[in-house]
Symmetry: C2
Subunit: 344 residues, 2 copies
Amino acid sequence: MNINDVAQKSGVSKTTVSRVLNNEKYVSDEKREKVLSAIKELGYAPNWVARSLVTKKTNLIGVIVPEVDLSFYYSIISEMERIAFERGYKLFICNTLHRPEKEIEYLSLLKEMRVDGLILMHEEMSEQSIKEIKKWGITSLFLSGEILNSDIPSVLIDNYAASKAMTEYLIQLGHKKIQFIAGNESEHATLNSRLAGFLEAVQHSSEEITYKIAYGDYTMESGYEIMKKTLENKKYPTAVFAISDDLAVGAMNCLLDYGFQIPKDISVVGFDASKISIVCRPRLTTVEQPIELLAKTGIEKLIANIGSSIKEKKTYVPYQLLIRESCARFKGGEGLSNLERIRH
Amino acid sequence: MNINDVAQKSGVSKTTVSRVLNNEKYVSDEKREKVLSAIKELGYAPNWVARSLVTKKTNLIGVIVPEVDLSFYYSIISEMERIAFERGYKLFICNTLHRPEKEIEYLSLLKEMRVDGLILMHEEMSEQSIKEIKKWGITSLFLSGEILNSDIPSVLIDNYAASKAMTEYLIQLGHKKIQFIAGNESEHATLNSRLAGFLEAVQHSSEEITYKIAYGDYTMESGYEIMKKTLENKKYPTAVFAISDDLAVGAMNCLLDYGFQIPKDISVVGFDASKISIVCRPRLTTVEQPIELLAKTGIEKLIANIGSSIKEKKTYVPYQLLIRESCARFKGGEGLSNLERIRH
DNA sequence: CTGAAAGCGCTTACAG
DNA sequence: CTGAAAGCGCTTACAG
């Protein structure tokens, strides 16, 4: 069934049916009525595919995400969906699972589908993908991160400042042995900024701070493994700073499983303020990336950029230190003896 | 740029270009070469929209989910995406946020988009939506639940048996006061089966079991609130059986926040074996819905059903009781005094 | 206010 | 092996 059937049934031309469908004026009430009732009677739904072919608009936004299964990502996606929906856009979510081939294939599908815009959330995107996007010329925006030297606008928090502030908070609590848990070792802007902020605070402190940096990926499992290795090396930090909440909760769980008390024995902080950070016990002290604001700003800027060509390069959204229950003041030798107690 | 540009550049007809694009044989190697290099040079991507218009296939599967933000859902979606992708299908995820209007709008978009099939995961779908789906005649499948009297095939675990088994496990541990936390109060098959299984075990036990049933939604917040109210009423159960892990973890967190020890003071069990159940501490004893198998079976059956008309109504997938750390044997008066101790 | 005609970018018989 | 033509289901000038 198609527009012709509706036209025939209601005794008007398909042009008129199309006009009714698109809510144009200049259709007599009488014909409008007839068309509407024919549509209802036939259960007709216009063919989106055919319409997109001629209008060259899909009202679709492609979203490239490396791993939906991380709480930060699905929360932000859920929020973006809500906002985009209100604006008449739908999301097409592409879960690349960190695999470059999947990324390429999704990108080319997105191109074939003629989506109207792209939200990028994977900083470790392959060179090839970035080149593809540029060549394609699609309106795109990086959310909660950035790709340096890429001309792609981004909406994010100031990761350097946030990381520095959180580190200073730990130092101020008296911690002098800090374990920094990074995500992936590969070069990307967010990791670099957070690491730089951490180093800045640590190296320019009036105190003598020792630190270790460990790499993994962004999952809880990875946080768990990294922490486990650290403990097995018998080098006990007094505080752990992980650059994602999943990582931090993984580390925390490992600590808990080994019999440590948090924050009494060891303090732990994370990054993101994703759902897991408030669900875990003790509640995780973390840097808040304002998910709603990030999603809102990102979607709105992207939509504004579709069809326009002025685009600001970088938009900062405010971060916040969320002080919760996973940190305590380090009490010199006492804490140390606690650790010893547990080891043996 | 379109297929004509490619045809012109390579000096063949667009029919031939189309043949190359679709990997048909009966194209001379010479022309195939020319076309391929022209495509590469121009950076041409075929227009998916135009293709879909003529083939009437989109290779898209619509997924209706009430709340992506629940761990069970995003895990199963992630898994379905992986499997569908391998089979050449992509998912179009529709997050309805439990709102009937959104459900209706997404459904009609899906219909306009001419998706090839539908995965349903929302049992409390409105009558109107179900009617729409029937009228539309789209191949669909209900995953991890079912809609009674709807003719929609479903893939799920035997919720009745699973719930009964879990309840018997609690009874066997000596629990005689059990709090059952349901999700929504509205009638739907999964809740009914789980409740029926619970009641069957409780009412036909050789022991005298007392129980309470509380309703909320499926979120952690809801589990927390329900537990809080229970505690405030000073009616302490010795075990809590929640019908989702989120609900259970919410309840567990409340208990923890009130100073109870789990499982020493109170045992808690959940349902789903979603990620949160293994991340929380103590690890949650729960009924496993095998996410991978559910996703795999669901997607494969749906794809098989597209274009065929024989469909089995209901497919059971095996569940499993995952005994972890959140339950302990109830020790008569001692447990009771523990509770008293905490109250005052 | 209304409709006939052209066209969006493909694929698919059909004929050769 | 190859191509001209029709057609998928819409929208959009254009003319009235």
